[in-house]
């Protein structure tokens, strides 16, 4: 489909990793524009664009900036959430490795908008290469006067630091991230107070995802009208990266206008692996409830997916074909959440592990229909009352497993078909 790639325009262009190369494609023009604007106007511009957070929750970015107290001399922080650890998600990595300045520019614009002089990019510990690329880009930006005491000679000070995580999923939760950033055990804080009021080191803090900040750069470059012209409607605007994995021919990160249908996505990456039939797909990372083949015409945006009982999340699309044992797939995710639960709140600590145990029993062939009934009753208790969103995340896939595939699982249980045969994902013969 005809669409100008914006966020990924510098992917594959190694020169863009330097300030000079980045400028060739119009880089840092947006920042120059932002520095001439009143901070309040930047916030208004972002509000008008309808940009919603790309990290998972889809919270309106401009509104988030608006919560930060204005007109005080208090220290404020921008924290960029680059702890991309949702299973299936790898879009931010691409942005950081190929176009680090796009992110740095977004960070400084955000800093200008809320009068913060410091950005911490909290990057997932495993992203060693991305961290290195960012560090080099930041050094170059300091040398070229983009960062430091006077950004582009404007007199506005902004510093950017890369902070590497140590491998905990929970540190991608914004308050868990702040705790980790402060050098404490990474576990979510009780909210309120929200980070916009009491965030990093007790100061008002804006926390934005990598892709969100990259979008900010383009909103300032091309204007909110342009941004709004892309997408489904005024609540779902802008370009969007989709990280596609699983049983497809060409998995990878793809840029589309937000609201592209799943079928278009699938066609864009070469269709189902070896032409097999689609069984289920997860539209937004491990915490998004699964959808079935019958729903493949769905528009992949915040509101349409929410209406279908799932969510856009981080837009990590995991595609499963007819050979997949959905119970095994859900178990894989349940194990992940049980492993990554921080352990402080009761429903998540106990519930994720309980779900794992029951799914293991079903998957291994030792389960009964009673287990499925139990799961249906226990799972809703895990989300909703947990301290942070991990509890809600953990129940997503299991809940949809019961809703969408309950009859199939019951049939398999009655006929004692578990464990289902494992079909190797890669056909080694085909590779050779």
């Amino acid at each position: 489909m005809a669409f100008e790639r914006v966020l990924t325009r510098n992917v594959g262009r190694a020169a863009a990793r330097t300030v000079r190369g980045y400028r060739e494609s119009g880089g840092y023009e947006a920042l120059g524009r932002a520095l001439k604007l009143d901070p309040g106007e930047i916030v208004e511009e972002v509000k008008r664009s309808g940009l919603r957070g790309r990290g998972g929750a889809g919270f309106p970015c401009g509104a988030k900036w608006g919560f930060v107290p204005r007109g005080t001399d208090r220290t404020k922080y921008i924290v960029c959430n680059a702890d991309e650890s949702e299973p299936g998600t790898f879009k931010d990595r691409l942005l950081m490795e190929h176009d680090p300045h796009q992110l740095i520019e977004g960070c400084v614009i955000a800093g200008r908008a809320v009068a913060a002089n410091t950005t911490y990019i909290y990057i997932r510990g495993e992203y060693t290469h991305a961290a290195r690329v960012l560090e080099e880009a930041i050094r170059d930006a300091y040398d070229q006067g983009v960062l430091g005491a006077s950004v582009l000679g404007s007199g506005f000070r902004h510093d950017v630091y890369v902070h590497r995580g140590a491998g905990a999923y929970i540190c991608g939760e914004e308050t868990g991230m702040l705790e980790s950033l402060e050098g404490k055990r990474g576990q979510p804080r009780v909210k309120p107070p929200f980070p916009a009021v009491v965030g990093a080191f007790g100061a008002p803090t804006v926390i934005n995802n990598v892709e969100t900040l990259c979008c900010v750069t383009h909103i300032l470059q091309r204007g909110s009208e342009w941004f709004k012209s892309i997408g489904t409607d005024e609540r779902n605007t802008g370009p969007k990266l989709y990280a596609i994995s699983g049983h497809v021919e060409r998995p990878g990160t793809y840029e589309y206008p937000i609201g592209v249908t799943f079928q278009e996505l699938l066609d864009g990456c070469g269709g189902m692996y070896r032409g097999r039939a689609l069984k289920a797909f997860i539209p937004g990372g491990a915490s998004a409830p699964m959808l079935t083949a019958a729903e493949s015409g769905i528009r992949m945006d915040f509101d349409n997916l929410a209406k279908a009982g799932s969510m856009l999340g981080s837009a990590a699309v995991i595609v499963m074909d007819e050979t997949t044992c959905v119970v095994r797939a859900a178990l894989r995710l349940a194990r992940f959440f049980a492993h990554e639960s921080c352990g402080q709140c009761t429903p998540c600590r106990e519930g994720t592990n309980w779900m794992r145990l029951v799914l293991e029993r079903i998957e291994s062939g030792h389960g009964s229909e009673a287990d499925l009934d139990l799961l249906a009753r226990v799972v809703p208790n895990v989300g909703g009352i947990s301290l942070c969103a991990l509890g809600d995340a953990a129940q997503g896939p299991v809940k949809s497993l019961i809703e969408k595939f309950g009859d199939e699982i019951r049939d398999n249980l009655r006929n004692r078909r578990y464990p289902l045969p494992r079909v190797p994902f890669f056909d080694l013969g085909a590779v050779a």
Binding site: C342, G343, Q344, C345, T346, E350, N353, N381, I385, L387
Partner: protein
């Protein structure tokens, strides 16, 4: 102040009051584990979920503050009750359910809330629960034992060591369903308040090495009392079974010890087991000390006190362990005998600090009531034989009769040299509960009640008058000191026959301006600040 409605009861609370506290003011108990009024709010047990009108999801009551008018809260609506039931289920699926061998049973948060909010069966049908192998009995420090299998990860203990004692010995390790409480290598939980973590632990994970397996808690009888460890005057609950004290627990008093007390204070009752007890009055007859009846013993003391010998003085030595009322009667006795030789002795002890909202309280003496005794008039007079003259000088050798009120008044009562010095009195009489070297050297011994067996008042370091009550009666031939002193005084003036502590206090209050208007029956449970000349004005 904003107005909030909780379960149809409307009240006004200061802005920022959390819902658990607000609800308790109208008698609604919102179940909670991790919340504690003196610790930071972490909202992680999720037991206190309540429904708030206008909010799509249930909210944790502990972390929800009342900041605006018109909040309508339902604590036991269907959805809130279901959430509470779900949390109880989650907490119990991996709990060992070993109540029959658990010290906490009977005062356990899991038991109580299971009964009220839980269900009677388990849906967790797995043979193996999550356990922490080898972590059933980990001594965290000298006073606290950890059984990780029973822990519900509420982290109250961790926050206590970080926020109250500021020693930070405890921390959270591992994560998810394997998250556990622990100490760092070579850094045991050893601070003066360490046993408080046992009190705040809502389950049987942390138990006191002192109290472990000592008694099932439902057999314990409880009385409000005051710790005798120092002059801080920590409010305690004295818990005993048929006269055997099993433990002291802190009793909430925000003006004194708040929710806490020190490990030293908790152990003070052990002295009643460590030292031999005086059981019957003893009198030296023809060089031989023999058991006698009370009448004979008191007559002997009366005659010794009344016989004003030309060759020696009559001296009375009290102690900081006397109740204010006992001290006052001792002072009356000095009046009847017309002696200027009366005083008290108190050992100075290590400073014992207890945090409270007013910035803390520090006890500096090894006895609870020097101030009360002084208030009652036991202040040495100029030129009199005072405690220093008796204990450190040769004052006793100039005494015809010396009465020491408390055989265990301090370290000196166990020091052979000082006992020798006091023994120089012609007639040495000793009152007390403990058979100390001093008691063994005496000519007359009067066995009186221990702290647990009497009632009275103490005045603490800040000049706060606090009442304690008799938890159980003394053994058959032992009498409370107040009764013994009254009996003795009645030999001088019959009006003193059979007066009780309450009567003595009321008389005392009539006499002393500092206690004006107070009556025994009306002393508040948390004490009352009084103005006391020698202790300075009450804060």
């Amino acid at each position: 102040m904003p107005i909030v409605t909780i379960d149809d009861r409307t009240l006004e609370v200061p802005t920022g009051t959390n819902l658990v506290e607000a609800a308790s003011r109208v008698g609604v108990q919102i179940p909670h584990y991790c919340y504690h009024p003196r610790l930071s709010v972490v909202g992680q047990c999720r037991m206190c979920m309540v429904e708030i009108q206008g909010m799509p999801k249930l909210q944790a009551a502990c972390s929800t503050q009342v900041v605006r008018d018109g909040m309508v809260v339902r604590t036991s609506s269907e959805t809130a009750a279901e959430a509470q039931r779900a949390i109880m289920e989650f907490l119990l699926i991996n709990h060992p359910l070993d109540c029959p061998i658990c010290d906490q049973a009977g005062e356990c948060g899991l038991q109580d809330y299971s009964f009220k909010h839980g269900q009677a069966f388990s849906r967790f049908r797995f043979e193996e629960k999550r356990t922490y192998p080898e972590k059933e009995r980990i001594p965290l420090g000298p006073h606290v034992m950890l059984n990780m299998n029973r822990c519900i990860q509420c982290t109250r203990c961790i926050r206590f060591t970080h926020e109250v004692t500021k020693t930070g010995e405890l921390s959270f390790f591992e994560r998810g369903s394997h998250a556990e409480i622990g100490t760092f290598p070579d850094k045991p939980l050893d601070n003066p308040l360490s046993t408080c973590v046992v009190d705040i632990c809502p389950v049987g994970a942390l138990t006191s090495t002192r109290f472990r397996f000592a008694e099932r808690v439902w057999y314990l009888d409880k009385k409000p009392s005051i710790c005798t460890g120092c002059d801080a005057g920590c409010n305690i609950t004295l818990e005993h079974r048929r006269g055997a004290i099993r433990r002291y627990k802190p009793r909430f008093n925000p003006e004194v010890n708040d929710y806490w007390m020190c490990d030293f204070g908790r152990a003070t009752h052990e002295r009643y087991q460590e030292l031999p007890r005086l059981a019957v009055p003893r009198l030296r007859k023809d060089g031989e000390v023999v058991a006698v009846g009370w009448r004979e013993a008191l007559d002997a003391l009366f005659h010794a006190l009344r016989a004003k010998r030309a060759d020696g003085a009559t001296a009375l030595l009290g102690s900081g362990f006397l109740s204010t009322e006992e001290a006052w009667l001792l002072r009356r006795l000095a009046g009847f005998v017309e002696t200027p030789h009366f005083s008290i002795w108190t050992d100075s002890g290590p400073a014992r600090a207890i945090p409270n909202p007013a910035g803390g309280i520090v006890g500096r003496e090894a006895a609870p009531n020097r101030r009360g005794a002084e208030l009652a008039g036991l202040v040495a007079e100029e030129g009199g034989l005072d405690a220093e003259a008796l204990l450190l000088g040769d004052g006793a050798s100039r005494c015809a009769t010396l009465l020491v009120a408390d055989s265990d008044f301090g370290k000196a009562a166990h020091d052979p040299k000082i006992v020798e010095r006091l023994r120089a009195a012609h007639f040495l009489a000793v009152m007390g509960w403990a058979d100390t070297p001093l008691a063994r050297a005496a000519d007359l011994v009067l066995p009186v009640a221990t702290h647990a067996e009497r009632d009275g008042t103490f005045v603490n370091v800040n000049g706060r008058l606090q009442r304690f009550e008799r938890a159980f009666p003394p053994p058959s031939h032992v009498r409370p000191a107040i009764e013994v002193l009254a009996d003795l005084l009645s030999r001088f003036d019959p009006k003193w026959a059979s007066v009780s502590t309450a009567v003595v206090f009321d008389l005392l209050a009539e006499e002393l301006p500092a206690l004006a208007g107070l009556r025994w029956a009306e002393i508040p449970a948390t004490g009352v600040p009084i103005v006391h000349a020698s202790a300075g004005a009450a804060p």
